[in-house]
Symmetry: C2
Subunit: 360 residues, 2 copies
Amino acid sequence: MSRHFNFSAGPAALPEEVLKTAQQEMLDWHGCGLSIMEMSHRSDEFMSVAAQAEQDLRDLMHIPDNYKVLFLQGGATSQFAMVPLNLLRGKTTADYINTGVWSKKAIAEAKRYCDVNVVATTESTQFTSAPTQDELVLNPDAAYVHYTPNETIGGVEFDYIPDTGDVPLVADMSSNILSRPFDVSKFGLIYAGAQKNIGPAGLTVVIVREDLLGDTLAGTPTMYDYAVHAAAGSMNNTPPTLAWYLTGLVFKWLKAQGGVEAMEVANRRKAEKLYQAIADSKFFSNPVVKRNQSWMNVPFILADSNLDSTFIAESEKAGLLNLQGHRSVGGMRASIYNAVNEQAVDALIAFMNEFERTHG
Amino acid sequence: MSRHFNFSAGPAALPEEVLKTAQQEMLDWHGCGLSIMEMSHRSDEFMSVAAQAEQDLRDLMHIPDNYKVLFLQGGATSQFAMVPLNLLRGKTTADYINTGVWSKKAIAEAKRYCDVNVVATTESTQFTSAPTQDELVLNPDAAYVHYTPNETIGGVEFDYIPDTGDVPLVADMSSNILSRPFDVSKFGLIYAGAQKNIGPAGLTVVIVREDLLGDTLAGTPTMYDYAVHAAAGSMNNTPPTLAWYLTGLVFKWLKAQGGVEAMEVANRRKAEKLYQAIADSKFFSNPVVKRNQSWMNVPFILADSNLDSTFIAESEKAGLLNLQGHRSVGGMRASIYNAVNEQAVDALIAFMNEFERTHG
């Protein structure tokens, strides 16, 4: 067995300690004589795993008591519909900030349920930045304001939390949740697919302010109603127990590392190193304005795109996996989530330097 | 490590061989240097796992080419809405057969989208049987006919596939899929939550005839549109890759056992043994009419319900887990899915006989 450095954008690297624990407990969870995935979600054993995972996330993110934490299925893509279905609450318009591929997907789905007011877009500059607070022309009558704090494909991250006054702020935090502290009280709702910084694919975490629940659009499927899940402790039906358990192990690991505060220090250092190496290079480049360079997803291109396939082939040989950029944009992308340690980033930088020396 | 006999109704027992393979491959899938759950769903490696799982299911169930196989999230409970949203296709009424708790849940959700015509119900006899074909008063103009071939809580299983003429037949096969051969060509749509006979919770399998796709009710969320998933090979967004992989291992295991044809032989033998033991007993009883006694879920009650907690405590001590009945009905229930082998059933019967001898 040999573990490689994994820069996958998602499903992404998980902490090796988490995988080892899951491996050890696979056939017999804590002496119960069965796997965690073979027991009822309503058993005392699983209920304690579920509750502990929620409490650990509350501790890690300092989630206020007036927020519900939901463990759902369907990915962020399901949230693109669930957000308007639940948060319009009689209103007919919502504000959206457009900073790239994932913003656009959220906007397209919301348009099926309400008038979408795009309050700022950086499309004219190929999504190489996020708008500043001053550039947001917000509608005080909007049901909510939606944005994507970190665009996984473009590698564009907001360097601030938008101030939306009394209008609830909604964030697709799929690719930067838990990467650093965020003041949850500034949000009406946060959602995140698990498969980047939380756990395996198949789980979606939703953190929502209680007062926003309970007024869905007519025709909303029961399983798309946050209030139903909140009332049932995310067990209106059988939840994805294995994914929930693994997510709990990741939260425990995060706590042991020193929480999101420690992640902030590590992630800042990892990102700064890698962006500095790119800035110092005459061969690699990243198009994003400095203040919005993502800590989690670092896209970069080679001066000669004919060398892309060579770069991929040689990086794989060197044990650096999944560096190809998203199929929609090409180039390269290194995703350096919490579970990708500094050693991996150092190895990548060394490889890039050597590649530039020999092919540049 | 000591594995016990696990009679959980779901999430339920998985084949030990499957868990062992997953354990072995947990940190390094096939020498790739990362876990299967850490790689992109669009990687060649995962795509091959996904395609193989679909092919194995097609082989096992002899699924005709004009049916799509979808690997979704959200459980059968999400299907309760997805079925009417996709299959009404301009019609306003659907036929439902009511045989218990799960039928009623499906009916309640469908009523939010159409007129539900309950074409037969066994509620007046406390759901201790399924209606016969003669008792079904079908509406030839219904959009579809929905039924629950096996009621997990009541332990009532249909002994035939309803003939619905040209009206598509829809089945919630969550608790008896793969337990024996079913002629898929008789169905318009089959759905099943994975956590009983397929794999871990968090995956839902849908088998749907192609001509029924593509005409959803206005306002249907994109992720509730079967056609979207069919067109994207169930990868419209990130699928639950770990659950899909584990499910593939279960399908491989099933093939190695001799497929659903071999399961039919084994499951018939297991069920007949257990029902015979109950029939022979003066202490245990099962209320279901013989022709509808479920092969998968065997509920039984003790002559003296004061002994219920003693039965549970002593069975657990004997390594027989999760025999308590559903919280809504009480009593006992032994779920004997494919992964629960005959040895487990023998051990249960021996324990029941001994319990009757000492407490009866």
